[in-house]
Symmetry: C2
Subunit: 297 residues, 2 copies
DNA sequence: AGCTCTTATGAATCATTGA
DNA sequence: GTCAATGATTCATAAGAGC
């Protein structure tokens, strides 16, 4: 697949282009911008982004680490940025936040719970929580906990009428159908009502000839480790699944905390435009290389 | 296995026995008590329970349904009960809460998040969140969401030094791969997003040759269906896993919202004492039958 | 008894239609 | 208008039947 030319600009360069950008009323598509997303996004018009998928710097007690925001300060740090996300997102767009609280002093920290509550106060709808279950994490053991093998993928929306292309993420039907659907009896042919009066009923005959079914809200995706240069905590398959589900071809995908650029790679791979923002020049450089590298596709 | 004699008492009968119980300083072991857990537990001494595992009535908008607590009132309904849980639990004991918020008006309701925050204010430590991924959840697809196939199992503790028997829940590494390969069907092959087995590269080498490995904090357990008389939403395997992990033989397991008695069955099956409480006489009767039935073991 | 094959069943949500 | 009924939608597990 041809990846075209990728732009990568510093914040200064971006602000120089920005006058033009406003005059032409065009977005800096397929561009990597080096800067703080809050500052960068303030120059964007309202309602211009179809999907925001991001895995922000995780809360970290060690203040020196790149991107390490102290858990106690995380919500206050996040909210001014999510305010810009809310403004630039189209009404029918979606914001997917991949996040997981870490253990602080033997307890799960509560900043993610508090963040969800605050985001709702900010105007977001908390539509769904998907679970990213990491299939291939190696065994681990601590005195009082096991390997943490899952992360939250929180879905937020501006309105209840958001875009969703469910067929794009359908999966092959399970092996059960081969045997079950061979010979059908009378109850299989009619709708069999649930005894719990839930309104649920099943009609086995509906499944005959079906090859694809809808997935659930648990995503089984392997972590991407041992990759070439970068240590991408965010495997391309994760943003890719949400890009397929929530955007159409040529839609605009934003990752305000781009890191090594998995979202950008996933967007290009699926013929969507991307805008990636990161404060660290080395990550911007790495992301540009990855998006332009044919080995990613 | 011999199940012994199971007691089942009404609240009145329980209060008659209760004088004796206090005098003898013994707990009503292997007893099913019909009443509200808050009222019942107030008669219990402090620090007498090793493990509380429960799946309380879920929040429900339909007020008529049994156990249906309105989501907006759920936290206020729960807190006086969890206050008693905190009092009766031993310092080294654990409280496992299986719960999941439902969709209200297109959004995930926030009462579970609020409950976690309030439980911490009440004095609980929020140690961990396990995910129960339901392998065989029934179908579902709506205009803007997929099937909800997971629930939270929240671990709370009184102190950081809680009992944990990690070896009791180890999984055979060979067995895992053997059964996995045996059942390998089209679904497994095509749904597996992992393109490379690169994750099994470095540190996995430490585990090669070992017979048993520790599990993660994602539990893959099927819902219990097609069972005889009862419809246990809570499969025995779920409380059983936590009973093995957090208690030793002859420890005392409490389920304050017993329902059809899966926790009681799991406790007896693993030679732990149980105390089950439920407000509904029909559930107390059903639970007694299940615990005494040899077909459950 | 022991094996395979068949069949029943389970914590739901939303738009639409009918009363 | 409000409220209740209806349709859509998987797969693992265990009971039961057949051999």
């Amino acid at each position: 697949m041809s990846t075209g030319s990728i732009k990568s600009v510093t914040l200064n360069e971006f602000f120089q282009q920005h006058t033009t950008f406003n005059q032409l009323n065009t977005l800096p598509l397929d561009t990597i911008i080096c800067g703080d997303c809050e500052e960068v996004l303030r120059t964007f018009p309202d309602n211009c982004i179809d999907l925001i998928v991001t895995s922000p710097p995780y809360a970290d007690q060690r203040k020196k680490t790149y991107g390490g925001i102290h858990p106690d300060l995380y919500v206050d740090w996040f909210l001014p940025r999510s305010k810009e996300f809310l403004r630039v997102l189209k009404p029918e767009g979606t914001f997917v936040l991949n996040i997981k609280e870490r253990v602080v002093d033997g307890e799960r920290h509560t900043f993610v719970l508090e963040l969800i509550l605050e985001l709702r106060k900010q105007g977001w709808l908390w539509t769904e929580e998907f679970i990213w279950s990491k299939k291939n994490c190696y065994p681990g053991k601590w005195p009082n906990r096991f390997r943490d093998s899952w992360e939250r993928c929180l879905q937020f929306n501006k309105t209840k009428k958001f875009k969703m292309f469910q067929k794009a993420v359908m999966v092959p039907i399970g092996g059960w159908s081969n045997t079950r659907l061979k010979n059908l009896n009378q109850t299989d042919l009619t709708r069999d009502e649930s005894k719990t009066k839930s309104g649920f009923g099943k009609k086995i005959a509906n499944w005959v000839g079906r090859e694809m079914v809808y997935p659930t809200n648990v995503l089984n995706i392997a972590t991407e480790c041992g990759h070439k240069n970068h240590s991408a905590a965010f495997p391309v398959g994760l943003p890719e699944w949400f890009i397929k589900l929530f955007t159409a071809k040529d839609d605009v995908v934003l990752d305000p905390f781009m890191g090594s650029g998995s979202t950008a790679v996933a967007a290009k791979k699926n013929t969507r435009y991307f805008i990636g923002i990161d404060t660290q020049p080395e990550y911007c450089k790495l992301a540009k290389e990855r998006v332009e590298s044919p080995t990613e596709y």
